[in-house]
Subunit: 272 residues, 3 copies
């Protein structure tokens, strides 16, 4: 593309994608962890998408092909859900991968590597998760929350994008999104969002909704979804008195976002 | 019955049933989908019922007979939960059925038809679900949210009630409840409730609580539960700034409903 | 210990333990029921802990030994999760047990007795649960909510503590915590907390976080966690308009607790 990707360009793209989600109501199959179900579904509905938490292997052949996108999250991985994850990821629909706590066990690392081989459109993780996945090592596990800054994982993200063919997003105080060549940063959000469980899951599901509404450019979709979710967090923070009220105000804000707020509020830029 | 079912009569019945739930604290076994667990449990507690999410097949023989009612919801159906659903539905207690996304797959349609044969007291779905269940066809699937108006499904609901022996409720902007002969409409609620995940599950669980508190008339119980939940949504909407705050205010309102509010607020009528 | 355990002493201990949780961010594996996942994770994050809901048996050998504590809750018990519970309880980490609705079935009673034999650091239940567990009988089951006052279960709690080697906490309007010899009471909290699903699960998880941050005295950790959670409920109640807003304000309050509020607010005393 020859167009110059200014901050204003990103603002227009973010609004166009959110509008596409609202207009097309993409149906997104979510095979996600048990902790995240409520916030994932509510965030997607607030954004205008249609989430469907369906994880039964026998339903995948009928159901997954009808979806606009698939979201897979291994937070509460189990042996009986893994075949459904693999089948849904293989259904031919664009899919987005959240390798939660990938280094928690050897079993989880293997499961994530096997899913990664099924060519997700986007992988989104925190810095510790992306570092572990890129190195294929669970040596550094410290818990489900990241013990690294997102910038620590930038080279790992680029390498992972190149080896997997996926867009890789590392979330943190600044989010980095890369296809292995270009790197985009998204700087919306507030620190207290990390005190709400499954906000990472919710934003990754939102990436799936954006990809489902417009699969033409997964890098742009991922950056815009991350920025918009963070922007909703910033607006929510104005009314919040703690993490539980932030959660409520964030989802309300996501629902109420208008063109002016989005185009002027998202902070995305292409790194040189 | 010879009494005339005026709007005032319905108001008094709705209040009497809510009061019965609060006084008797019906124990309701809920085998419900993973997304809905939190809002189902909290809505039932706010209404005065005692929910118990117990889905293990080995517990059904001891536990289900102790319950006042059973609620079964297939939203996140799996092969290992289906036998528990069947066993609980066969326990001799009145039970209420929520055939979420019945047309999502052939497996789900078959599972729902097998449950329907176990004679639920009430089936509650959106128009798309009732149409699919009545026609035994999954051709029209568009997602878990309805792509039809409730009035589109009225004839299907009557036919389904006649063939199944259940009261059938179709929820939408106006809810219709029928035993195959009479049709009652309930018109409470606000559109934004559809932007909160699992409100349909929560109101169906509330129907189970009402049936558990007074099993004498499932048609009346279903209509009153739908109207009361919708009324709580209307009250919640007065303070809401989006779907997440609506969810909170709805449950607070359900907890705080008083006689004057219920008797004057429910909008139920018998269709001619 | 020779120090006199005045109310002021308890206030200082409670603050010291909450500060330890915030400083050390204990990683707590939670194998908990499906209803409670959201509130358990959010309450733990608000308190400063790092929850990880991981229940897959194949992950236990790698993951459980890395945790500071384990929390096990049988609310939605199933045959396939029980081996994971047993394995995590046997991993050598201190663990806290929530025998939700232990008397709901013979299967559940047996499962709880088998877990109890694996020497939890703390068992926390309502009066009905502790009475049933101590008597090994499911005759009295009335539902997941308690049908007894906590004081009814005090002798049962002492006997259970002596036979199991665990600290036993009975929660209610007044919580009692005993190691079989000493009995401590904690009197924080508000009645409406019982109208929020899984508050009992959340406070038991918080006990696990406190034990994880400082395993030196499980009796003190349990009493302080119960009092602090109740204190957050009292503060939340000042802004609540019903159970759903109480839930939000409680978690916000838990996040915001400061030294003055904790030291002057917890109501713990050693019974003579």
């Amino acid at each position: 593309m020859d167009e110059v990707r200014t901050e204003a360009w990103w603002g227009r793209r973010a609004w166009a994608l959110l509008s596409a989600v609202r207009a097309r109501t993409p149906l997104v199959q979510c095979i996600t962890n048990l902790v995240s179900m409520d916030i994932v579904a509510n965030a997607m509905l607030a954004a205008g998408a249609s989430p469907a938490m369906i994880h039964c292997l026998r339903e995948v052949p009928d159901f997954s092909p009808r979806c606009d996108a698939v979201y897979i999250n291994v937070g509460t991985l189990s042996e009986d859900w893994l075949p459904s994850m693999r089948a849904a990821a293989s259904s031919g629909r664009p899919w987005v991968f959240d390798p939660v706590a990938v280094a928690a066990s050897g079993f989880r690392m293997e499961a994530c590597l096997s899913l990664l081989a099924l060519r997700p459109a986007v992988v989104r993780g925190n810095a510790s998760e992306i570092l572990a996945l890129a190195s294929r090592s669970d040596d550094s596990f410290k818990g489900v929350d990241s013990s690294h800054d997102s910038s620590d994982a930038l080279q790992a993200a680029k390498a992972l994008a190149q080896s997997s063919g996926a867009v890789v997003a590392v979330s943190g105080a600044v989010d980095f999104i890369t296809d292995g060549m270009q790197v985009v940063s998204a700087s919306n959000g507030v620190p207290m969002m990390q005190k709400i469980t499954a906000t990472g899951c919710a934003v990754t599901a939102l990436i799936a909704a954006f990809v489902g509404a417009d699969p033409s450019d997964a890098l742009v979709a991922a950056a815009c979804a991350l920025a918009i979710f963070g922007l909703a967090g910033e607006i929510g923070m104005e009314s919040a008195r703690g993490p539980a009220s932030l959660r409520m105000h964030l989802i309300d804000a996501l629902y109420g976002l208008d063109e002016q707020t989005v185009t002027s509020g998202v902070k995305i830029s292409l790194l040189p």
